[in-house]
Subunit: 181 residues, 2 copies
């Protein structure tokens, strides 16, 4: 069911996504689907999450900056070279006017994705690679959130060079070195 | 005209915003308005820009981090305690499906706002307070873009404490001090 939902969403977009079609393509009944996912939005997002999960996996080589770079490059490529970009833009846009979809988005997609990122960051902190005062939730907004900002408002390009700059700023700081304490 | 447009937008939202109403409230003719702003979206955004310009001014006391904190606190307050938050969410959401509104948003609002931020950051670089390799456009996404991310996807709270964390990460870096080069 999740495979069918993710494929349907990425192939045809949220407008053509229906529980009926997921039922038809997966062979499951609508009743079964609604037992597991309370709304069309929740099903679409769970399917999307499952579909992109492998692509967006967090490696752990022991080098945090390198692992984040690997993951962010995959994330940017997903958003810019597949239908994931338009799908995500459509979902975030719809969710602003549809509280049920918003809740589904937060519970079935962005919340779980944030947790995976925070887990990787906390593992790095445990390994002594992240400062004790770092707010790992805010780091999520300064890496992936910054990318979503360019996806939604394309004033400036969203590409892997941008992802590298985001990491450089966070890992080396933006202040002039001579003035740092 | 801009004052009337900004007030109408913040008082009633984008759905009830029309060129007719701006004409009626400002005393200008529709022809005059359309000469200056090619679309309803462009007029709404120019009015919004003019209305929030003073609130979102960039101070320059010579202390970049402090000045950014002042401005970011005002920005977060604007988005969370006035109708600016819902208005901006609505505009960004509509713009994903309306290319004319998207162009107006980029040209009349987010582009000019980015330029003001980049100017302040470049002044700090000229004053020796910003590293030579810093990409000031990417800093915009890691401060204001991170806030828009929480505005649009409220997994985590958007507040002034969050703004302070964003600044701390960028100015002090997230890596563990003992491991920094």
């Amino acid at each position: 069911m999740l495979t069918a939902a993710g494929r349907l969403l990425l192939d045809e977009g949220i407008q053509r996504f229906t529980v009926e079609r997921v039922a038809a393509e997966s062979g499951a009944s609508k009743v079964t689907i609604y037992k597991l996912w309370p709304s069309k939005g929740a099903l679409a997002l769970a399917g999307y999450f499952a579909t992109v999960e492998q692509v967006l996996e967090f490696p752990d080589t022991g080098d945090l900056e390198r692992d984040l770079r690997t993951q962010l490059h995959a994330f940017v490529e997903l958003l810019t070279t597949t239908k994931a970009g338009p799908v995500v833009r459509g979902l975030i846009s719809e969710a602003q006017r549809d509280p049920v979809l918003m809740r589904a988005y937060l519970e079935s997609y962005s919340g779980p994705r944030r947790r995976l990122a925070v887990e990787r960051l906390e593992a790095a902190r445990a390994a002594g690679q992240l400062g004790p005062d770092v707010d790992t939730e805010a780091v999520v907004d300064q890496l992936w959130g910054a990318c979503y900002h360019r996806l939604l408002l394309p004033d400036q390009p969203l590409d892997t060079a941008f992802a590298d700059r985001l990491l450089a700023h966070l890992f080396r700081g933006i202040g002039h070195r001579g003035r740092r304490p």
